[in-house]
Each structure stands twice: as C-alpha cells, then as structure tokens.
Amino acid sequence: MSTLTQDQARALAEDFFEISKAVGDYRFRHFDDLTPDQLNALHSLQQQLSNQSNHFTAVAIQITLDDLQPTLDKINQITGQVNQAITTLNNIRRVITIATSIVSLGAAFASGSPGTIASAIQDTVGALQG
C-alpha cells in the first residue's frame, strides 16, 4: 500500500470529523425516536469517528514534519553561517583587546619594572586566552 501524503491525511481527518458531527447531530435530532441501544451505538460510533479524525491529524502533522526535514537542515545550516559571522565580528573585538594588552606589555618592558612587567604579562596571557 502506498503511503499517505500530508494532504491526503488532512482530507481524511476532515472527512472523519464531518461524518462524526453528522452522526452526533442525527443522534440528537432523533433522540426520542431511537432506542437506548441505538443511542449508545451511535454515540460510540461518533467517538470512534472523531478519534479517527484525530489520528489522521496526527499522521498529517508527522508527515509534514518528515517532509520538512531538508528545509530544517538548510535553515540550520544558514543559522550556523550567521552565527559564524557573529563570531568573526566578535573576534575583531578580541583582536583589539589583545593588541591593547600587547601595547601595555611593550610599555611595561620599557619601564623596566619587574612588577609592572609581570602584571602586563598576566594581562596579555588573559587576553590571549580570551
């Protein structure tokens, strides 16, 4: 048996829902004419039909999600590229921070003060580790 398409599953869900409503309306209109057994049978039938409608709706959603997979993969891939661009732009910020710490390091060496040099080295290492 060939598999359903999402449109076919939706059409079935809609059909079962309409038939279920029709059974319910019939049962209500002829309530006084029907025997309790007939009423119960129609009630049960109505419930089964509406459950079938929900089943086909769930099937339609599942098929839709399956069909969407290549689309989702493509959007995920593009999102990855956009995030990569954000990372690149943030890396520029990091490069400037590293350059700033290296300038400080140069000045510290020029000063000849061991304490200043040690502190500047620590800052530079921190900037490089980001």
């Binding site: 109505q46 339609a60 959603i61 969407l68 959007i75 999102t79 954000i86």
Partner: protein, 295 residues
C-alpha cells in the same frame, strides 16, 4: 622630530589612504540591506515565534480534554492516564514540532543578533587601545585622537560591510526555506490544531446534550447551569481558535516580511526598507497581543 610626531605623521598619511579605502568599502556596501530595519523586524518576529509552544502543547491537551469529555457523565473515576494514553500520538509529536519551531526562532534570533549595532561597535575597545597607546608612547591628545578616529572609522566600515554582506546572503539563501517552514507551521496551527479543537468541542457538546437529555424532570435551574457552563466552554474554545488564527497570520507576516527583505536586499535605502517592514512588524506585535488573550 619627536617620536610621537613621526608616528603621527605616518598615521596621518596612512589615514588619507585609509579614508579612500574605507570610502570604497562604503561605496560597495551602500544600498545593501539596512541592519537596523532587519534587526527590528527579526526581533519582533523572534518574539512572536516564541509564543508558539503553549499552543503546540495544547494539541495533546485538547485531545485529552476530548477523551475525558467522551467518558460517561455519571463516571466518578480518575481517567486521566487512559486519556493521556489515547493521545500519545500528539504528545509524541511535541518534541519534533517544538524542534521545527526552534529552527525558525534560532534563525530569526541569529539574524537579529547579526543585525545588531553592538556586534559591529568596537568603540570601547578602541578607546582602551588608544589610552594604552597614549600611556605607552607618551603621545599628546591630537595624535591619539587621530589614532582613535581612524581605527573607529576603519573598524566601522569593515565590520558594517561584512555585517551587511552576511545578512544579505543569509536572507536570500534562506528565503524559500523560511516560506516552506512558515507555511507548514501555519497549516499545523491554522488547520490541524483548529480541527483538533473542533473534535474536542463536538465531544464537549455531546456531553452537554447527554446531560440535558438525561434530566427527565426538565429542571430549569439545572438547564440554566448547564447552559452557562456550555457558553463558558464555547468562549474558551473560541479564544483558542482566535489565537490559532492569529498565530497563522503571524507566520504569514514573518514569511512576507522576510520575502520583502530578500527581494530588496541589494537595492533598498534605509528609509524605504523601514517603511516596507514597519507594517509587518506592527501587525505581528498586534497579533501577538491578541494571541496572548488565550495563551
């Protein structure tokens, strides 16, 4: 010549060349997609898309309410486990459905972040850099300000150009897929969910009919109470349906707004782009407010 002055002189010549380079960069990027308009639209669209999860979860919840409404009116028992089992198909769908929604939210959010001013602003870092240069080289204010101005100018031009190029290429590349995804989600929300609500409502209606018909005394007080409960139920259902239609419209606006961006990404001015996207953003905001009445 003092050390600071020679550096300044070098930088001054470098600045003239750099201005030409930067001007060329700006010419290349002029008329490209305007980040602020994109940021505003995608930020609104992201917020709107984040409203979906309660509705997605209500698919299974509606099915459970239907199962409970199908139970006999004189039953006093905890049937919730049985009802949940009968709706497993819907609860099993939730993670995939929320996952598909996340793909859209993550994409819009990434675009919004890339379009943000902050991502291309290096002012604080450059100020810090200039201060260090000043301290290290004992430069005066003039050369340091020149370094700062030049660095900011170049960084802005380069970063903005890169930002616009990446925004433009992403929006164009994703446009047809965004259309497919929003259409599919719109069908699930606007057709499938509304049908599931309809099925639930039929079961609830049947329950009220049974209760009315079971009352052989035709007691008006009982009928009045049942009628009030039925009306309250109807109103709650109508709110949910309206919310679903709002969400379907939001998806249409996201799709159309995104398509306008993609179509005009290479040649619209900032004002035109904002004018084009503004109605989409406003409609989405209004629809989200309406949607929040039910969820």
């Amino acid at each position: 010549m003092r050390k600071g002055e020679s550096v300044f002189s070098f930088l001054w010549n470098f600045r003239q060349i750099s201005i030409l380079v930067a001007a060329a960069v700006l010419l290349v990027t002029v008329g490209c997609v305007t980040p602020e308009a994109v940021r505003q639209f995608t930020a609104v669209a992201t917020d709107a898309a984040q409203q979906f999860p309660p509705l997605v979860r209500d698919l299974a919840a509606s099915c459970i309410r239907k199962q409970l409404a199908d139970r006999s009116v004189d039953e006093i028992a905890d049937a919730s486990g049985e009802a949940k089992n009968a709706c497993k198909e819907f609860s099993d769908l939730e993670p995939s459905l929320l996952g598909a929604l996340d793909v859209l939210i993550n994409y819009l959010n990434a675009l919004s972040q890339l379009a943000s001013d902050q991502v291309v602003s290096y002012d604080t870092q450059i100020d810090g850099f200039a201060a260090k240069v000043q301290a290290a080289g004992k430069f005066g204010d003039a050369p340091v300000n020149a370094i700062k101005g030049l660095a900011k100018f170049l960084a802005d031009a380069a970063a903005s150009g890169y930002q616009r190029k990446k925004l433009g290429s992403a929006i164009k590349a994703a446009d047809s897929d965004v259309a497919i995804l929003t259409k599919a989600l719109g069908t699930i929300v606007g057709d499938d969910y509304i049908r599931v609500l309809g099925v639930e409502q039929e079961s609830v209606l049947e329950r009220f009919r049974q209760a009315i018909q079971a009352d052989k005394t035709k007691n008006p007080a009982v009928h009045l109470l049942l009628q009030d409960r039925w009306r309250a139920n109807l109103e709650s259902q109508e709110n949910r349906r309206r919310a679903a239609r709002d969400l379907q419209q939001i998806l249409v606006k996201i799709r159309d707004g995104h398509h306008q961006l993609a179509a005009q990404v290479d040649h619209w001015s900032a004002i035109e782009l904002r004018q084009t996207l503004s109605p989409y953003s406003s409609s989405i905001r209004q629809l989200v407010r309406d949607f929040q009445v039910a969820f």
